[in-house]
């Protein structure tokens, strides 16, 4: 039998290079205690990801050049954990899916590293902060690459936790501020709740496969062994249906992890707060790469989800509700980064809609286009924040296009891409997601499609609102900021924006729908879907040109309506806004306060848990019942007995001792002489 994979030792360097960068920085900072000169820091930390990108490109071409029958490159470095029935290799897999993710991560990652040079340059808040920042950033890249290149679920989980750690470190990067530190912790803990489900999913896979004699976490081996467990069911409580397919249970558990990492309802609450981190971090980790890990995982396990219709339905509906819910929250935000954060949550919802509807390549397509335009938007926002001397509130902006013409234009490209302006990348990927929902067999798929369509309209509205309030209209810039001057940022900031803008426009061509391509005489024009075909399960849907065009037109019209409304309220007749707000003040307050979800979680989970732990478990049971009553109580009893009762025995009177002795001796004799 021909091996379906080819060994290639190049892959370890994709992870290894950024890791090496992080280690160098870490050792210098932690042990040598000497910050390297900035030039050297920049050289090390930007060359590492750039080289990783080049190696990925080489690997990509090697992958394309593989003989027929071989679908992936594999690099098995060593056995990581081997005990009993469990063996997990430290191995990397470079198949079309990881290739796409790897190129996005290293490509966008390199750009954001370059951008960070300019962004972090003015940061004098913390000694060693510059190098510390790049140390974390390189470490993040290494972890993210582990995640997408891992050949088994355990290496994926290693990367999964690694990116979580870097997210924690980078959100709380300016740790001198209590709020930042709180947000970092919140992100980590909420993600851990997701990891709880993810781990159970891993255990379930091992548990199911242990019976078949092949407890493995390797993706290809799980896929091979899947038919042997696909018929198995597990008993669940009657109100949940009494019996579930095992694959559905596994799929749901793994999805809990994805819900945490990719910020879906109900675990999305950490992502908006994650904006406390420096803006390049928000762009790289909390928009372009890390938060898409959940979607990547679902696509990676697509062979399982294809056999788990129940789990797929949950995914699609979770995605749809998150997309809409987050979009409504974005409407009333005034912080430029918060709007983008909720928009990210909403777009991640779109990706899950696609994955849940079985259109895995559409999900990855949207991951890719979103990585470009959302990174562009965040970096653009970062440029604005930099120009505004770290002011993020759009209430204090307005009319900035006069000061920041380039930033304005580049940001506008990002906005056009996200709202799906025809021809831009977001147009193609969003349409493919909506089409997938429209044509899928998921229960209620038409409703999901309708929600997606509505969300597209809302997205157009709030993104334009953001853009108009920032760059158009009268200036609301406070004098103390205007006094310092509002200037276009450095070239290291603008050039990455330009590259991202280019891809935000043209990346859609990778997924140019086949039906259009056929009309234009370009067969298989959806090159991404065809490239991914060997890895992800394909949903065979052949749609008519009319359906495709009709849906696209409808989506465009809805988005246009959103744009028009935003233009009306924020550019043409701004006085309407205030009147509208007072008309629906209660609703506005509800939305602006993010539906009080954080407060709800605090009251329902955090406070009761602390109360239970402190009052009941610690004061009540531990200190009170066990230690106070049982332990010290018995000690007191013994002491009381010794001091109050036994002391009379030690009277010092010889007669007393004598009597005791005689009685004792008689008693012993009596016992010995008993029958």
């Amino acid at each position: 039998m021909v091996e379906t994979v080819a060994t290639n030792e190049l892959l370890r360097w994709i992870v290894g290079l950024p890791l090496l960068g992080a280690i160098v920085h870490g050792v210098m900072l932690g042990l040598v205690r000497r910050e390297l000169p900035r030039g050297l820091v920049i050289a090390i930390s930007c060359v590492a990801p750039a080289l990783a990108f080049l190696v990925s490109l080489v690997a990509f071409f090697q992958l394309r050049g593989l003989p027929v029958g071989q679908t992936a490159l594999v690099d098995d470095v060593y056995t990581w954990i081997g005990a009993g029935r469990l063996v997990a290799e430290m191995a990397f897999l470079f198949d079309p899916l990881s290739a796409v993710m790897c190129l996005i991560v290293t490509g966008v990652g390199t750009l954001i590293h370059v951008y960070s040079i300019g962004y972090m340059d003015d940061d004098h808040r913390d000694d060693g902060g510059f190098q510390r920042f790049f140390c974390y950033l390189n470490l993040f890249l290494a972890a993210m690459l582990l995640l997408v290149l891992g050949d088994n679920l355990l290496v994926l989980f290693l990367g999964w936790e690694g990116v979580g750690l870097c997210s924690y470190l980078l959100i709380g990067f300016w740790f001198g501020d209590r709020w930042n530190a709180y947000c970092g912790m919140k992100a980590f803990v909420v993600n851990r709740i997701g990891d709880f489900g993810f781990l159970i999913g891993i255990f379930l896979i091992l548990w199911a496969l242990a019976d078949t004699g092949a407890a493995t976490l390797n993706f290809r081996e799980i896929q091979t062994a899947l038919p042997s467990i696909v018929e198995r069911t597990v008993a669940v409580p009657a109100w949940l249906g009494g019996e579930w397919r095992l694959t559905t249970l596994i799929g749901l558990c793994l999805f809990v992890g994805a819900v945490g990492k990719s910020a879906q309802i109900p675990l999305y609450v950490w992502l908006p707060d994650a904006m406390a981190g420096p803006t390049p971090v928000s762009a790289l980790i909390h928009a372009a790469t890390m938060v898409t890990a959940g979607i990547y995982m679902v696509c990676r396990m697509s062979f399982l989800y294809a056999e788990a219709p129940g789990a797929s339905t949950v995914i699609a509906w979770t995605g749809a509700s998150t997309a809409l819910f987050a979009a409504t929250m974005a409407i009333a935000q005034t912080d430029i980064k918060k709007v983008l954060a909720y928009s990210t949550v909403s777009q991640l919802g779109y990706m899950f809609v696609a994955a849940g509807c079985g259109a895995y390549s559409a999900a990855i397509f949207h991951v890719g286009t979103h990585a470009f335009f959302k990174a562009l938007l965040f970096l653009g926002a970062g440029a604005v924040i930099l120009a505004m001397h770290h002011e993020q509130d759009t209430d204090k902006m307005g009319g900035l296009r006069r000061h920041l013409p380039w930033t304005h234009k580049l940001f506008a490209i990002g906005v056009l891409a996200i709202i799906g302006f025809p021809g831009f990348s977001g147009f193609f990927s969003k349409d493919e997601v909506l089409l997938a929902a429209y044509t899928s067999h998921v229960p209620g798929h038409k409703a999901i499609w309708a929600i997606g369509l509505l969300t597209a309209g809302i997205t157009a509205f709030y993104m334009c609102r953001l853009h108009f309030r920032t760059f158009f209209g009268e200036s609301r810039v406070p004098p103390e900021i205007a006094h310092h001057g509002i200037r276009e940022p450095a070239n290291t900031v603008l050039v990455p924006l330009g590259v991202l803008a280019f891809f935000s426009v043209f990346a859609g061509l990778f997924g140019f729908p086949d039906v259009y391509g056929e009309q234009l005489g370009v067969p298989e024009s959806n090159s991404l879907a065809h490239f991914l075909a060997p890895v992800v399960v394909q949903q065979p849907h052949h749609v008519a040109l009319s359906t495709e065009l009709g849906l696209a037109t409808l989506a465009t019209v809805v988005s246009a309506a959103g744009v028009f409304l935003a233009w009306l309220l924020y550019v043409s007749r701004p006085e309407l806004t205030a009147r509208l707000r007072s008309r629906i003040s209660a609703l506005h307050r509800l939305v602006a306060n993010k539906y009080y979800v954080d407060e709800l979680y605090d009251a329902l989970i955090v406070r009761p848990l602390v109360f239970l732990s402190h009052r009941v478990l610690f004061r009540g049971i531990d200190a009170g019942l066990i230690d106070g009553f049982a332990v010290n109580g018995s000690a007191r009893t013994v002491r009381a007995f010794a001091s109050d009762a036994l002391k009379y025995a030690h009277s010092g009177l010889a007669q007393g001792y004598l009597i005791t002795m005689v009685v004792g001796t008689l008693a012993v004799l009596a016992w010995l002489l008993r029958g």
């Binding site: 803990v189 709880f196 610690f618």
Partner: protein, 571 residues
């Protein structure tokens, strides 16, 4: 001289040497000599690591010298994979502890050095013992130096804590002593009246060891209740459970930890607690396999309660050291879960996790000690933002905390993951409940880290804090190396455990089935007893003739050649 014996007694010998020359040497010299003794012990133990044959299984470096042969008491040492790991952990931690308390201990330095050396011999002796009596001696001997370390160099409530520690452990140990004697007599009955405390047959063809005893399952007319597996197991479990500590026997631990000096806390968490879990694996499981299986649900329940209870209580502590102490309760709960999963994944994970806990929690106590030395407080509320004046300290604390949280690529993850996999394979709900402890560990540690290290550094007393010095950095770095090593490449550790855990499970399976077939008299006695002996003549205790018969039958049934395999003594 025998290597294991040398390693065991080298620390005490160093101590005695110092005592003998006591007045000649200044206090500082005591430290240096003590340190030298410990470092030498560590280097010698590396020879164990290098010379240990992982694939071979059984006990290695075995050494047997008659001590009180008439009563079966011998000097009998040897190590398998699990004791190897714990011995090296002990020899590795002790010099670091010594180094860490270099400036910390100012009173009675001489006694402090001596007690630490004494303690080390006590711990090592317990880990290498293959004679139950000898084990018990070391088990109890350990208490004495620890009692003094807490009682003399401890905090304000040190006497209360020391007495509590002593009484708890003693109270747990006495039933075990009785159970040991009971087992000893049972063994004598089964093997022709020969009194023997050796666990396995001594090299050179001794009589069978205690592990060959088939402990009856059920009480019968001839077998009293105190010789059944359930009761003997309970007695052992009580002694070990106190040491682990298992909830609800744990309340001595927070007091002992909080009051003990840094050195005491590190050794307590790093090594002494492992005596309990080690005792379960080395004695309770192989001696009473049926009871271990029967009571696994009980142990699971207590361990899961330990994980959740320990984590939740740790979360609301206001004293950093007490928080770490309660986190120990949770971590040791994980270890117990893995042990009673009774499969390879769980047991290997558990033993590795014992080492991991020793490294991570040991390091946490060291770090807490360093900040206490500077500020003379451990209240979380007194700190805030100290990552600014102490960046290296913060970074190192962060890595150690992450290892305790179980972040992959650090040691804690490997152990916890294997434990949970092992537990899930036998009892999914136990694993699910315990996995929730993984979430909680992030909550309590990161919450503490945030309040101590992050935020504005606005307390004037914290602004001038000095970062770690060279000595302190070296100590923590020495611990970070294995923390990362085990996380990234745990296989050298796991392969050393593989054969030993396999042997243990194999042995348990065999003795359990032997004990079960004993319990079915109709089948067993026909084959076991010689023809002509009526089933009613089941041997009574103190009846040497019939005792011999039973022994012979027990042996023929258990097939001695296989029984000895647990020993697997190299020729």
């Amino acid at each position: 001289m025998d290597l294991l014996t040398l390693i065991t007694f080298l620390p005490l010998a160093t101590g005695l040497l110092l005592v003998a020359t006591s007045r000649l040497l200044p206090e500082q010299a005591w430290r240096w000599v003590g340190m030298a003794g410990m470092v030498l012990t560590f280097l010698l133990s590396l020879q164990l690591w290098a010379g240990f044959e992982p694939a071979q299984g059984g006990f290695q470096f075995v050494h047997h010298v008659p001590w009180i042969p008439a009563y079966g008491i011998h000097w009998f040492v040897g190590i398998d994979g699990m004791s190897l790991l714990l011995v090296v952990l002990t020899t590795f931690l002790m010099p670091l502890v010594m180094l860490a308390s270099w400036n910390d201990i100012k009173r009675s330095t001489r006694s402090f050095v001596f007690f630490n050396l004494f303690l080390q011999t006590g711990m090592l002796g317990a880990f290498v013992s293959l004679n139950l009596f000898q084990f018990y001696v070391f088990w109890e001997v350990m208490l004495i130096p620890m009692y003094f370390i807490i009682g003399i160099w401890g905090g304000p409530r040190r006497v209360y804590a020391a007495v509590k520690f002593f009484l708890f452990t003693m109270a747990g140990s006495l039933p075990m002593l009785v159970a040991m004697l009971s087992l000893y007599l049972l063994h004598a009955e089964q093997f022709g009246g020969a009194l023997e405390f050796d666990l396995i047959a001594a090299p050179g063809g001794g009589t069978a060891g205690l592990l060959d005893t088939i402990v009856p399952i059920a009480e019968t007319a001839t077998i009293p209740w105190w010789q059944t597996q359930a009761w003997l197991f309970a007695a052992f479990a009580l002694a070990f459970g106190v040491k682990v500590p298992m909830v609800p026997l744990h309340t001595w631990l927070p007091d002992a930890h909080v009051e003990a000096p840094t050195a005491g806390s590190v050794v307590l968490a790093g090594v002494l607690l492992k005596m309990g879990t080690y005792g379960f694996v080395r004695f309770a499981l192989p001696l009473f396999p049926v009871a271990a299986e029967t009571y696994a649900p009980v142990m699971f329940t207590l361990a899961v309660i330990g994980v959740l209870f320990g984590s939740l209580v740790a979360m609301v502590q206001s004293d950093i050291k007490k928080l770490v102490a309660y986190s120990s309760v949770a971590h040791l709960g994980f270890v117990m879960i893995g042990i009673f999963a009774l499969n390879e994944e769980g047991l290997q994970g558990s033993i590795l996790q014992m080492v991991n806990h020793g490294l991570s929690t040991g390091a946490l106590f060291l770090l807490v000690g360093m900040i206490y030395e500077r500020r003379h407080t451990r209240e979380i509320a007194d700190f805030g933002g100290i990552a600014k004046p102490m960046p290296v300290f913060a970074a190192m604390f962060g890595i150690v905390a992450m290892s305790s949280i179980g972040l992959p690529a650090l040691n804690g993850f490997v152990g916890e993951f294997l434990i949970l996999v092992g537990a899930f394979l036998v009892s999914p709900w136990v694993a699910v409940a315990a996995t929730f402890g993984v979430v909680l560990s992030a909550v309590y540690l990161l919450w503490m880290v945030r309040r101590v290290f992050f935020g504005p550094c606005d307390n004037p007393e914290n602004m001038g804090l000095l970062d770690l010095g060279l000595r302190e950095k070296a100590v923590v770095l020495a611990l970070l190396i294995p923390i990362i090593w085990i996380g990234v490449y745990p296989n050298p550790f796991l392969t050393r455990l593989e054969a030993s855990v396999g042997d243990l499970l194999h042995h348990m399976e065999r003795t359990a089935s032997a004990a079960r077939s004993e319990a079915q008299p109709s089948e067993v006695h026909q084959t076991a007893l010689r023809p002509g002996t009526a089933p009613s003549a089941i041997p009574r205790r103190h009846d040497p003739a019939s005792g011999k018969r039973w022994a012979a039958s027990a042996r023929s049934e258990a097939q001695p050649s296989e029984v000895h395999q647990l020993g697997g003594i190299p020729r």
